[in-house]
Symmetry: C2
Subunit: 349 residues, 2 copies
């Protein structure tokens, strides 16, 4: 039976909190029948999330054909909003819908939800649930497989979409590329991957390495980044992933106007040149790694300001740079192909 | 009832694998009645681990007074050696002993062990078990509390003992200092702390910050480090802890002769000057942080070579340096007091 998804964003249908919803609509829109948000019913995903034309409804029963409820937010800490419980329970118990969740609070571990799911015979997919216990060993990496990792100056700035758009651009040009999902939304979009931020800390690099070993039959891997090396809450996830996937190339991503750390607004984000220096230091410890392009998220800028910002950044760093949505990903796709063809990046196996 | 501990090190009674055993003997020796290792019985902890004078026995029943079995190793991956199962089960089921374990494989989650424990009415303490789900917020840090963090060039080089010895040295001189345990052995020694490497990755910095917030009524906190920023398997744990505890000062630790990464021997450890540069970069992102001393582990050197190495390192870095066991911790204790008294290190709250 094909999935017909209703995405729950009740009270959170806006681009930042609803980034999971937006990406699922963008990349798996053919499976999405509606958004559920009683505070915004009658509007569309295009109006509120800037992507697709999915209707926003007030009640589950406005879309009787839906058979899957996807929790469409990624809040810090990953807790289930309290006013969502009744909706989730109704979806499971009365509507007999499967549930897909990327929250840290596992829906399937909740006694009420799991009891209802059992009674209804539905499945709860907790995308972040994992039992990874692999230690990174730096063994068996295929030297000819190019690993490109998207990193950034903060969370939620577009590292995932940059990775997906470059992957799709490479595929269109006939390259054997694969997007490596490392977060809950990426996994929902790609259908595989590992939720790196939810692995026990000792095994973060091992989980990342495992993703590489399982997928290195492809020529080019685009590895989704997590957090930021300068994020005081999540930098450990970022570094464990960086060292675990052992990239030969990085795409450095940032969002224009973002100058305070998400969730820790008392902390300033350093200038991009300093961010670049930090990634250069930390990515070159074990093998040569080069920053080969810059992904700009110019969402808040006018077209003219975005064009100026792009030129400024290209001049400052002497690197290809683009906003993959506004400009298309070609410049970064070509940067990856150039780097691949230039050779000299092969890692010791 | 006072604890009378037998430490299980069967087949692993040597300083590296048995570092948990060695530290428990060193710092809680008054509670330890024997080591259990059938391959080494008749010898002593002093001969094999370089500390204490604890007898090594072949059978549990050689020490009828023991009421607690402590698993005395910390292997990579934290698995229970298969030939230990029968011993652990015998201790629980027949001898009705409590069990203390710092392994990643939780003894209490094993159906056979947990059933036996229930039947015997004994307690299994899995020191690494935790349900930490706190995100670091960088709020409420007490500016007058000096946080000193021990970091290093690899795992298992003595960061914990440097932290403990400095703490004890500060206390002897009348300072209000506290050792902050972040690993399984440290927690066994101190009786509190959090197993940072076993926290879900997103919450590593949050767990470290929580330890600070709970203990910052003390004047000086000595925070045990984990792993190394250049360890390809565990660097994420190291950075998450570093950013979570937000130190104003670091003690840089290394072991003489250690030039390959523990567990990933294909990877070389960079020179100490490069290690220092990496810690300087990563510890100064959010607040000023200064490396104020060097902890040398000169275990493998002769007394004369150790003295030469100490002078060489002091000259190269212009920093106080000592081996806390060989030389005593005074030089590092004084470095902390000097840094504290000099002021200028107060962090924004």
């Amino acid at each position: 039976m094909p999935r017909r998804i209703i995405i729950l964003t009740e009270g959170h249908t806006e681009p930042h909190a609803g980034k999971t919803a937006a990406s699922v609509i963008r990349y798996r829109g053919h499976e999405v029948v509606a958004l559920l948000d009683g505070t915004q019913s009658g509007r569309t995903s295009g109006e509120l999330l800037g992507t697709g034309d999915v209707p926003i409804v007030a009640r589950l029963d406005d879309v009787p054909e839906a058979n899957t409820l996807l929790l469409g937010i990624a809040p810090p800490g990953g807790k289930i909003p309290s006013n969502w419980r009744a909706i989730i329970l109704d979806a499971i118990a009365r509507r007999k819908m499967d549930v897909i969740s990327g929250l840290h609070d596992f829906v399937g571990d909740d006694p009420e939800f799991s009891k209802a799911a059992k009674a209804s015979g539905v499945t709860i997919y907790d995308v972040r649930k994992n039992t990874e216990k692999t230690i990174a060993r730096r063994k068996g990496l295929r030297p000819d497989c190019l690993r490109v990792h998207a990193v950034g100056h903060d969370c939620s700035i577009g590292k995932m979409v940059v990775s997906i758009e470059i992957t799709n651009g490479l595929k269109k040009r006939g390259h054997d590329a694969k997007f490596i999902a490392t977060g809950q939304t990426g996994i929902m979009v790609e259908g595989d991957g590992l939720p790196i931020d939810c692995v026990v800390a000792d095994f973060v690099s091992g989980a990342a390495e495992k993703l590489i070993l399982e997928n290195q039959h492809h020529d080019i891997l685009l590895v989704e980044g997590q957090g930021s090396l300068v994020h005081p809450s999540y930098s450990g996830v970022t570094l464990g992933l960086l060292h675990g996937c052992a990239p030969q190339a990085l795409i450095l991503c940032y969002e224009c106007g973002r100058d305070r750390v998400t969730g820790v607004e008392s902390v300033e984000i350093p200038p991009l040149a300093e961010i670049k220096r930090i990634y250069d230091v930390m990515s070159n410890i074990h093998q040569p790694c080069k920053i080969i392009g810059i992904g700009i998220n110019s969402r808040i800028l006018s077209a003219a300001d975005a064009a100026r910002e792009r030129e400024r950044v290209k001049a400052e760093f002497g690197l290809p740079a683009c906003d993959v949505f506004r400009d298309g990903p070609d410049e970064l796709v070509e940067a990856v192909i150039r780097f691949k063809n230039a050779g000299g990046w092969h890692s010791p196996s």
